[in-house]
Symmetry: C2
Subunit: 147 residues, 2 copies
DNA sequence: AGTGTTGTAACATATGTGGTTACAACGGTG
DNA sequence: CACCGTTGTAACCACATATGTTACAACACT
């Protein structure tokens, strides 16, 4: 018997925008100030939600968090953190596939036999176009625009 | 009191790949052959799922379905139907926003005050990049590759 | 009238999200 | 050392969406 686990990406969740928010705060604030509770106040959500996302950002090597003491700091300069880095850090889906293909089309049919290969490459291209655009913007470009 | 309805896009669902499959079948098969049951056999799913998606494609003006009689046909030539048309037809989300922003960041904070405007334009750019890529491929380009 | 089809409604199941409470581990400070 | 605020997680909830399924009315042809 074969067991297949399908991971659904509900959407590009608000985790992404919250992660950008968090990193922006860390970029412009002193380390000691950046506690989960403080950030939660700015994002306007529960501190645990923030800690969860910060855990992902830490795992991705984007930030350093001080356990016990509290506070966080960037591990790379804001110029070297792109929106794609952030997107990848918090959108944990199998194979990073934005699109999904329906399972097991009928191989006895001309279309069913070919659709997967032909369409998959188109979906990959579309996803790549989006990711390339995200990669063009650095965290510093956002914080530079704050007034 | 203000009521806000948040529409979640669980993902770019398999509705999209199924819709492309359906339209490919309609493009290469005689009208009478294209019944919901026949298509369901090729896609390998329940006929009702197909009928639901065909309803969306009909609503978007991409196909014509013959009630009672059965069968479907394209309302535009395959050269004039792009993957973006199909994507838009089946991904029904408020404002067609691929990305979501967290709600009500704290206005008293420098970051919270600015993040929405600054990040939203980046997200729009990324989404546009993906959609432009989808718009570059026509249904006919897919069916041409079937062998 | 009978048959096969479309069009929906209604429901079941599965899964991700964002929020919440609870609590252990950590690392300073009095 | 005891205290305190913080981080790191586990566990759970409420909710929304996706896909599949049954059921049935409306439709059009024979």
């Amino acid at each position: 018997m074969v067991t297949t686990v399908v991971i659904h990406l509900k959407q590009i969740s608000t985790r992404f925008s919250m992660a950008v928010h968090i990193l922006s705060l860390v970029a412009v604030s002193p380390t000691a100030e950046c506690t989960g509770d403080y950030i939660a106040g700015s994002v306007n959500t529960n501190p645990v939600v923030i800690r969860r996302i910060m855990g992902m950002l830490k795992k991705a090597g984007l930030i350093e968090v001080r356990p016990g003491v509290g506070g966080a700091s960037l591990r790379r300069s804001p110029e070297q953190i792109t929106l794609l880095d952030i997107y990848r850090a918090v959108n944990v889906i199998e194979g990073d596939q934005l699109f999904r293909m329906h399972e097991e089309p009928n191989e006895r049919c001309l279309v069913g036999r070919n659709i997967e290969t032909v369409l998959q490459s188109e979906m990959n291209e579309a996803q790549a176009a989006m990711e390339q655009r995200l990669a063009q913007t650095a965290l510093s470009e956002l914080t530079d625009k704050f007034q």
